[in-house]
Structure formats: C-alpha cells, structure tokens
C-alpha cells in the first residue's frame, strides 16, 4: 500500500500533467491533436482498468458509457446550450448513474456471462439510440458552428477541450491510484481473486462492485462529451463502436491489468503501433491483424503485460512501477 508521496503513486499522474503541460506550452496544433487522442485512450483504458484490472470483471462493451455519456453531454450542449465543462461533468454523472442501475442486473453475473451481457448492453444501447428521436435517431446530432464562438472561436475551443481532456485523464489516473492503495481497492482485489472468499471475509461485494462499476463509467462519460464536442457531431455508429471497446481491452492487457501505469503504457504503445502501421505501406492494411498477433503473444506469453515485464527486468524500479 503506497502513500501519496511514494513514487508508484504520483508518477503516473505527474506524467499525465507534465505531458499536457508540454503540449500546451508548445502551442502546436498537430502535437495537440496527436496528444488528444492518446490522452483520451489513456483515460478510457484507466477507467476500464478499475473494473477489469481491480475487480476482475471483464467488460467487452465498456465503450457504451463513452457513448451514453457523450450523447447526454452533447445533447445538453446542442439543445440546452450548456457550457462544455458542465455538460461534460453531467455526461459523466449520467453515465455513472446508468451504470449503477445497470449494475443491479448485470453485476450479478459472473465471468463470461458478464462479458456477454456487456456486449448485449452496448448493442442494445446503440440500437436504442438509433431509434430515439430526441437524440437524433440514426443520424445523430450536430453542433451549430456558432457554439464554438462561445469559447472564443474554434481554435480556442480546441485548446480548451484539450486542457479538459488532460484534466479528466489525470483525474482518472489519480482515482485509479487512490483506489489501488485504499481499503476499498483491497476489497476489489479480493473480489477479483476469489469473490466467494471475499464475501466470507467480510467484503460487501454487491456494494463494492457497484461503486467500482460506477466509477469506471464516470470517466468515459466525461471523455465522450469532450470527444464529440470536438467532433462537432455524434451518431450511433461512432458512439458505440464495439471495436473501440475491444481495443481498450487490448490496451489494458498490453500495459498490464491491475496496475496504475499499465493502461497508460498500454494505450500509448498500442496507439503508437497502430499509428506506425497505418502510415507504413507494408502494414497499412494489416494493422488489425498485427494488433491481433501482438495481443495473442501477450496473452500467451506475457500475461502481466508491459508493466509486469518491466518489473521483472528492473527489480529496482519495482517501487515506482505500480
């Protein structure tokens, strides 16, 4: 269990903030765009890690909270003229509440059944939203360009969105670290290792799981709102991509599930690989296949992911690599 001043605790958060600050100071649009996507995935992966890495519940449809929260936040901005920070927060809160409700039903399932249920939930959400007129049905919604004027023009709006993204991801990483080193987190880890034994030990498993689920849903909700604000529009096809959900899973596994640094490393590495392959003429068409091959190798041979591998190779750095 680490204290807040120990390296393993503050290092990941510090990295996020430093990264954000560096890009901000540089003022370059291209760097910002690249960083935006990367940081977004770090935030999403970190949130999934709370459910997957700490509690041991495999969710294949985690992206549903990105979509639902994003839709809600977008609606508040486009139709109710809310400001971005408030709408994003609302998106997160709504996501968390939906997770709480959903959890009553699906958290009673275990293992593979839970995984399947999450896929079902994502697909159901997508189909539902496609039919839901207030959210624009299958065409979705778009933002009037004038909305960006509220923030001093499109350029400033993009920088604001970037700053908020850094803030929310840093928060996600911080919360992840706090959970991992808390009594609550220990309860989650116990659930992961042996849910029945955890119950007998005294962990109130339904409550713990629900809180974890809600926490893991909050951040994607905020992130989704920011993402769709930047995009200018939102539609069912973009908001509930099962594919993206699975990529998050890969990132968490690649980096090392159940660690704070893992999702960070995993997201950056995966996106880096993907970016490289998309631009390389040799791998352009095969990036999915190569990603699959990498995932397979990790699952078969390095299940502890990058963080696990690094800890094995550099035992002295163990305290920092958490």
């Amino acid at each position: 269990m680490k204290r807040w001043y120990q390296a393993g605790f503050w290092l990941p958060v510090a990295i996020m903030l430093a990264w954000g600050a560096a890009v901000w100071a540089g003022g370059e649009d291209a760097a910002r765009e690249k960083a935006f996507t990367l940081i977004m995935f770090v935030g999403l992966a970190s949130s999934l890690n709370i459910l997957l890495g700490y509690t041991g519940y495999v969710s294949f449809g985690h992206i549903v909270f990105f979509g639902l929260g994003g839709y809600m936040g977008f609606y508040l901005m486009a139709v109710c003229a809310w400001s971005l920070p408030l709408a994003a927060l609302a998106g997160g809160v709504v996501s968390a509440l939906i997770a709480g409700l959903l959890g009553l039903a699906v958290l009673r399932l275990r293992g593979a059944y839970f995984a399947l249920a999450t896929i079902g939930v994502n697909e159901a959400a997508r189909s539902f939203v496609s039919n839901f007129e207030p959210f624009g049905g299958s065409t979705g919604m778009s933002l009037n360009f004038s909305v960006y004027q509220q923030y001093g023009g499109a350029g400033k709006a993009l920088w604001l969105t970037f700053a908020l993204m850094v803030a929310v991801t840093a928060s996600a990483v911080l919360v992840s670290a706090m959970i991992k080193n808390s009594r609550f987190g220990l309860g989650l880890l116990a659930i992961r290792e042996d849910e029945d034994a955890a119950m007998v030990m005294g962990v109130r498993t339904p409550r713990a799981k629900t809180i974890a689920y809600m926490a893991s849903a909050f951040f994607p909700g905020v992130i989704g709102t920011l993402y769709f604000f930047k995009n200018g529009n939102v539609e069912p096809g973009d908001a509930f991509q099962l594919h993206m959900s699975i990529e998050l899973l890969v990132m968490v596994m690649l980096g090392g599930q159940g660690t704070v640094l893992g999702p960070l490393l995993g997201a950056v590495t995966y996106q880096g690989m993907r970016g490289y392959m998309l631009t390389s003429p040799l791998f352009k068409d095969l990036h999915l296949a190569v990603a699959g091959a990498v995932l397979l190798l990790i699952v078969l041979f390095v299940p502890a992911g990058l963080v696990g591998w690094l800890r094995g190779y550099f035992p002295k750095l163990r305290r920092a690599l958490e």
Binding site: M1, N181, S182, R183, L186, G187, L189, A190, R192, E193, D194, D196, A197, A198, M199, V200, M201, G202, V203, R204, T205, G258
Partner: protein
Amino acid sequence: MMLEVKAVGKRFGGLQALKGVTFMLAEGEILGLIGPNGAGKTTLFNTINGVFRPDTGRIIFRGEDLTGQPPWEAAKRGMARTYQVVRPLNELSVLENVIAGACFGRHALSVRKAAVVAAEVLEMLGLSKQTCQPAGSLNVAEKKRLELARGLAARPYLLLLDEVLAGLNPSEISGMVDIILKIRDSGITILMIEHVMQAVMKVSDRLIVLDDGELIAEGRPSEITNNPVVVRAYLGDPRDAERLMAGGRA
C-alpha cells in the same frame, strides 16, 4: 452463549443435506464437529456463516439472529471461517491477504492499522519470512496457516475451522494443534470440522457427530469414542462385519 444452532434444515434438490440440527456452543469452548464423509459438515458451516440460507431453523450468534444473512454480516459480527480446500488470494502477497482479513473483519480497520495486526498474526503463525511472496507460491501447510492468519486477523469471536489439519504431516499437525490451543487461550471460541481423530479428540472440549445430515451424538471425546451409534456411522454395522468375516453374506 456464543452460537445457537436451532433445528437447521437444508435441502438441495432431492437431497436433504441437513435435518433438524440443533446444538449450542459456549464462549471459550473448542467444539469438534466430526462425522463420515458426506454427512453435511461443510454444509452446516455454510449455513452458519451465511453462504447458504437454511430452509428451516435459526442461527443465533451472540444473541443475534443471523439466519440467512449474507456472509459479510457474519464476518462483521466476529465470525471468521477457513476453508477445507484453501482459498488464498493468489496474486496478492501474503501480507496483503492477511491485511484484507483484518480490514474487513470485526473492526473496519484502515489499511495502516490492519497492517500492524497482520504483522502480529503472521508472526504468531510463523509466516513472517514470506510476507512479500505471492500467496499462490506457498506450499500447502503454509497456505493453511495463511488461511488461519487471515481469519485471525479479523479478530473474531468465533472461528470456524474446516479440516484445517487435512493434508498435513504429523509434525505439522502437532504444530497446528498448538496454535489452535493458543488461539483458544487468547479468548476465541472454536468450532472445528476434523477427520484427524487423535488431534480432534485431544483438542476438543466437546464433540458433536453428524451423520447423513443428522446430529447423532454429542458429548465429551471419551464418551463419543465408545458410543456405538457413532462407531456404526463410521464403520457400518459391526454385525455385518462379523458376518462377512465368518464367510457368509452380509
């Protein structure tokens, strides 16, 4: 009265696993629960600590009716339990396992305070050298001690031990028996399921015998060993044995 089990019955589909089991457990006692395989001993444990809800009867723990409450309610009121097939939290370290036991037990301790309790308990059980190892890497005897440590760290009033001596060699058994006696001397009441007869006879103040879901005998170890009902439950009808020996059919 630490524990009162009143007319507890439990059925699984077609099988009546427990039939009207009634007994009491006084504070500071070591009560041994013995019986042939399949008698329902572990099922009884499971109803006592809330894993199963009994179909009939009541479980009263320290005056409070806990019947059918989920397991964490029992844990929070001071009932700890070990498993026959040990269930360590494999990927967590030995220390973290015991800290977990302390955090969620009778006192809702903070991690820091729990760590202190955990260190004490691990010391008492001779696992201080292995604190940073993953729990999954211990050998069987060590895992049993870890399971016990986790239970003790919860500072329980009542400890339910399910075949804690199974799989141990004689010297390990003797060591574990000493530990059990020390635990009782520290004020904890113990209900233990056991098959290792000499040990349970030596350690228990009283015994209860379960056969086919029913409580067939109750009393001091010396009384139980000579009880024909008990002998028959374990060995079958002695008259059948005689007949077989005489060359006839049973």
